[in-house]
Symmetry: C2
Subunit: 441 residues, 2 copies
């Protein structure tokens, strides 16, 4: 096994035992990237020499945390002190922010090796798509806007990566690339230094190749309760199988993946029950739409007013001008959206652990779309983003076209640690010992 193939957790153990050096891992990673980049195109920036130099520096320093030497990709809407942050926008070509975003600083202080910047949809929003291909089937999208981060982890080019989610930009690519991903409770991780799009929705998340990998990073962010030891037994765990109000938007594969994951959990001892959301939740997708465009007006106003507006994709001009939205965003729509979200948050949290221990829902509408012109529909993510609840994506299997499918576990706000513990119990059953099964629609 080559070092690049190791999960973060496995590599961390070897590095701690001095059986693997940071430089060896870095060189193996860079070789993998060099081999695969022409096909996958996950990266917008990698400085090979800097990566090796930093890996050597890490080898001279005793590990402070289990992240020491682990390879990390950073979505290119998140600032890095030593690399450009280009937002996939001509406005930011070569832009050096001169500082690390909060999330990057946390893992860098923990010893993570920042390998490079991953390609993104323009400003993690719309406009210019990432150049990235799905590593499992290059004719398809890896999803977005965290396209490069999802593909890089899914293609074993890097062990961990940051993404962001404002609609469905983090969890959907996790499913599309056959990897694990967590979008923590909104606000649990500082977004300072990441592109602002919608303050109510923007959330930093990360990808890994196992639940353990996600937990390694969660510990550095000191998520509430993450240090308390807890082992969740799958036997008797009440899993709410949630089709969501948008089930008719799921293709046969997404439906099969969710139902198959339910059957696997049941077989392994969990109690899987149907979990219906109250009727009012059906308004959350429209509410998220109002919030993302209503708040986006202010986010893109500065560039719109500036001398370089011609470098901004029409998508952003439309958001600021608020004339092409159908319907146009009004203050009443925004307030109604905030208030619906607030009521649904309270209702959702009240059902856990009263009714079920965890909710399981589709992570995407199904197979990643063909071509790179669409990164897929965020409808199975947007409602959860607006609810601020933690979501954790787990791979289920692949379609006959070798396209990954996943589900997400969802918990109440700030129960991130509990959600990770539950995922530890569920993932081996759902993911079938990492051997992906082929899902038939």
């Amino acid at each position: 096994m080559e070092p690049y193939e190791l999960t973060a957790t496995a590599a961390s153990k070897l590095i701690a035992e001095k059986k693997l050096s940071c430089e060896e891992l870095a060189r193996s990673t860079l070789a993998r990237i060099e081999e695969r980049e022409p096909v996958v195109k996950a990266w917008s920036y990698v400085d090979r020499d800097m990566v090796i130099r930093k890996a050597r520096d890490l080898d001279k320093t005793p590990p402070k945390t289990p992240l020491h030497g682990l390879t990390f990709g950073v979505k290119d809407v998140i600032e890095t002190v030593d690399m450009p942050t280009q937002q996939n926008s001509p406005l930011y070509a070569g832009h050096q922010s001169g500082q690390d975003a909060a999330c990057v600083a946390v893992v860098r202080h923990g010893g993570a090796l920042i390998v490079g910047k991953t390609d993104t949809v323009e400003f993690a929003s719309g406009g210019r798509m990432a150049a990235t291909h799905n590593p499992h089937n290059g004719a398809h999208t890896p999803g977005g806007s965290s396209s490069g981060s999802g593909a890089a982890v899914g293609d074993l080019q890097v062990q961990l990566a940051f993404g962001t989610q404002t609609g469905g930009s983090h969890i959907r690519p996790a499913a599309f690339n056959g990897i694990y991903g967590i979008k923590p409770t909104h606000g649990a991780v500082s977004r300072e230094g990441a592109k602002n799009y919608s303050h109510t929705l923007d959330t930093i998340g990360w990808y890994g190749r196992s639940v353990d990998d996600l937990e390694l990073v969660a510990r550095e962010f000191r998520l509430f309760g993450i240090d308390a030891p807890e082992t969740v037994a799958l036997k008797g765990l009440r899993v709410g199988l949630c089709r969501t109000p948008y089930w008719d938007k799921a293709d046969g594969y997404a439906k099969a993946a969710l139902l198959e994951a339910g059957r696997r959990l049941e077989k392994a001892g969990a109690i899987v029950v149907e979990f219906d959301l109250p009727a009012s939740f059906a308004g959350l997708d429209d509410a998220q739409h109002a919030v993302i465009y209503g708040e986006g007006r202010g986010a893109f106003l500065p560039v719109y007013l500036g001398p370089q507006r011609h470098l901004l994709a029409q998508h952003f001009v439309d958001i600021v001008e608020n004339t092409k939205n159908d319907p146009q965003i009004t203050p009443k729509m925004l307030v109604d959206a905030y208030d619906l979200a607030a009521r649904c948050r309270m209702e959702f949290d009240a059902m856990i652990p009263g009714t079920v221990d965890v909710v399981m829902a589709p992570a995407s509408p199904g197979e990643p779309p063909e071509g790179l012109s669409s990164s897929g529909n965020p409808v199975f993510n947007a409602m959860w983003t607006l609810l601020h609840v933690p979501c954790l994506a787990i791979p289920v299997g692949k379609s006959p076209r070798n396209l990954p499918l996943g589900i997400q576990l969802v918990g109440p706000r700030f129960a991130d640690a509990r959600l990770i513990h539950i995922a530890h119990a569920c993932a081996p059953a759902i993911h079938e010992n990492n051997a992906l099964g082929v899902i038939q629609a």
Copy 2:
């Protein structure tokens, strides 16, 4: 009258009519700053030559907006491309972010002359206080954390300035410095490039010397409805005089200022009625405390984990470690705080315009405290910050010690434009034609 004494609105008119050049205004402004800085200490950075150079450039360009050439101070937690952003922290000494914050970019594109960076409480939070003195009585604080911005506008050193409010950092200094200030609806103005402390609370605001001045800036931010012409008649306007649940925290001057403002409005034709908030609103101050410290944990984690933790004031170490808070912040406290705020937001908005047209409340607990060790109590601001509602400070008069006192008008979320129109009607009565009366406690 010297140019520095002009309100933004008056100067804008003269500049448009070519009766005043940007350079004349800039030179007058710089002379005023030079004279007063040794006493007031409002500034952390002013580059005299750059200001004159930029003013000359503006004189060569036709005005794009009414902000052309107007003098603007920027609180030093807000990034500027051409000046350091130092956060009043040794960690950021000389720090150049290399970019403009969103709010700075908007007014700069409008032609505003950014004069310099104003002193702030460390990270707009706690720890190191600003060196700024109250310009009306140097033995007292100008308030904070927007200390320098409030004092600079109050001392006629600059016409407009940005502040921020997470607790009471913007509206309280407006009252303490005898000026106008608006904290718009949370999220209406992008906070990108301003220090992140608490994403639920952080709000960009601005100061001016009249309601017209505030409106000039509001137009550039395209606040909802700001372009619709509306004239509010004071006669028959229903003003809800709101003591808030914290009335016992107000000193005799704050109480007298609110009641006096009510009498003045009534005399001018308004219908002033007592406005009591529902009992649940009494929990908002504690809720704001939970949110600010709960979210601050993540905001200050990166520096806490880094090699320069020793340069961080103990205040921030305590926030991250969450051990000195009494009580310690828990996930349940945070969720309860969010949900209480959400319910109160709905209740508050439902009362306007049903019960009253606008709410009038204390802007501070009274006179600015003596000395610079405390910037004052945010208790009359924190609840409104958490409610996300727009607040507009209006000066009322001064105490016998020459210390300014103010009130704030408060409206429902996203009714910023309406609030400004109402303030146009109310301010002449409250502020008594700009001649400050002496308030007796």
